[in-house]
Amino acid sequence: MKIQNNYPHHAFFDEAISSEETPRDASKELFDHLNNMGIDELKERQKTAEKTIAQMGISFTVYSDKGNIDRLWPFDLIPRAIEASEWEKVSLGLKQRLKALNLFIEDIYNDQNILKDEVVPEEIILSSKDYRPESRGMKLKHQAWACICGSDLVRDHKGEFYVLEDNLRVPSGVSYMLENRSVSKLTMPEAFQDINIQPMHQYPYELLKMLRSISPTDSEDPEIVVLTPGVFNSAYYEHAYLAHEMGVELVEGSDLVVDENDCVYMRNIDGLQKVDVIYRRIDDAFIDPEVFREDSTLGVPGLMRAWRAGNVGIANAPGCGVADDKVLYAYVPDIIRYYLAEEPLISNVPTYLCSKESDCEYVLENLNELVVKPANESGGYGLLIGPKASQDELDTFKELIREDPRNYVAQPTLNISTVPTLCDEALEPRHVDLRPFILHGEQSYVTSGGLTRVALVKGSLVVNSSQGGGSKDTWIIELEDK
């Protein structure tokens, strides 16, 4: 019996197995391998994978009442496969999207033409908590405001990709994408020999290249640093990983200092050394106590002065979160048309804005069919999943929306796709999303695949690792002509 026989049928699009129990093209060779191994062998290898993760210390930090705990990264052995030709189209769409968003951000902090032309309502921008008047008047090299973007993609019941949200502030997850690949190469080496899987480990070099391209100096060898809030941050593992892979310093706020000439230096054993580019992993609000939160000890006093004086490049640039608002998200297709005069290559999920009266009415009436999201949260916090909510929860959210409509958007519950996942005795379908990473500097770059996150609980749609989700390696497969 084949491993995919008796795979449960359901109403969702399955990424790997069609309704006739046959693997889709991109997954054919993978399933040949899985069938060669059989379920017992797979379970053995899953154990090996978990042991490897413990040894390599691949972890993430979870905040809890009892302090911060390092948890091992959850990984499912069965990769998710996507055909290269299909991915090619998706990556073009992602580049297009990020290019338009960067033009948008620069416009917002300068002439605001898009507001004058009433394509995007002005109050959305001015009321966004990530709009930074402190960035007004800045023009950046290559219009690189959001230099690193992690967009979340999902597939609907027909298998079409949609952008669920754009993460433009300090998107994380890319190190786990790379670690997943390392673990899967260790645990399934045969597959990599036989199947034409696109490599992904060039990401750190692409990131470094992008960071170099936004350096304000002409130096051949600009000084680049990764700025972390420190060891207690949930993504500290990733900050250290990226600094390591790029061979640049991982600094904390207290390691940096801005002098009266508005230049940034780091405190070295032999004195101060000038810094040209900062890849910051600290939110806007904390980067500079002179300008933003005074009580922040994570940031660097004077950093905004240095940036505004053009003495340091910052990725992502302060204020770029203005395009990472779930309300603004609804306008992204129009933004693409406005700046690029092109049709969006990847669609948005239909989105109702509670700030619009007609939308709000619809949302309140159909709450039990919708997913409601606060405009500025991340990590899957503060969500309402209508079809699964109790009457109490529905009532609470109605109240919340009425009190602050600007802060809420709603989307139809998507029938997001599933992927075979190793469960107790067989493969079972579990819902997934995908976070590719897009770089924008002198050139654009999209990762080959991305971080696949999987809801490990049967039927669950929640894929966030901080809330019990897991992950898989993502294979972009070049099909060979047969």
Binding site: A54, Q55, M56, G57, V226, V231, A240, Y241, A243, H244, V248, E249, L250, V251, E252, S254, D255, M266, R267, N268, I269, D270, G271
Partner: protein, 321 residues
Amino acid sequence: MLSRVAERLYWLARYIERIENTARLAQVHSQLMLDMPKSVKLSWYTLIEITSNEDFFDEHYDAKTEKNCCWAILGDRDNSASLMSSLWWARENVRTTRDSLPREAWIYVNELYLLVNENKEDFYVRSKRNALLEQIIRSCQAIAGMLDGTMSLNTTFKFLQLGTAIERADMTSRILDVGAFFVAQETEAQEMKQFESILWANILKSVSAYFMYRQAVQMEINGKSVIRYLVNDPNLFRSINHCVSMMQTQINVLPSSPEVNQSILELQQLIEQKIPFELGSPVLHNYLDDVQMQLSKVHNEFYSTWFHPSTTQETTQQQNQ
């Protein structure tokens, strides 16, 4: 290199070295306890004294038993100077400097931590303790070898070397203290003499220098020549003299200060002087104490020169000596 990173690397190397030497110390002590007759007063509490843990021990333990003494210096996380605490801090320091070290550094240290943490109960059991200590020593050697074999002679490496050298010198002096305790005993010189060679041979073995000593010194093993060997030999990696040379080499290529140079020079002079050694007297112990004090002075100069140049030499929680 960032001051903060330099400090963590320095401590990382110190902790790795300390873990290894603590394991060695406990191991050699186990051997000695088997070899020595009851009349020689060498108790498990000597371990606590050698590692300067008397205050902690007296506060937290009621009896000076083998179990208590071993647990206090090996497994007790509440004791900031225990092997387990050093390992925890080593892991923390490598976790927070991972970007400047080879990837294996994190993996090796993490693995060692997982191993010891899972088996720490073995520290209580005499029959299992030595096997675990053996594994710990082997892992520390693997970490040091991996770093030697994969790194370039950059600033990172220099601070690792500096940390290793100062900690090693300190621990060699502490291990020699086992002998100092012995010679200071008020026992009949004649009675002690028969055990002397066993004692000093064990001390040599505890730093894996027995074989090298045999090659270098062809006479009977005695205290004077073992001390001369472990303190002064210019070619033995674990001799205090060699550790001081290692520090001198690194300091010459780091941006150093006159204070650092001066403190190393004083240490050098201390090493070069004729070592007092008399049976039934505490002079050797006092001499080794002076060496440890001078090492501590050198350490403080490192602090004010590189790690916290503008502030006073405040030490944080992890920097307990």
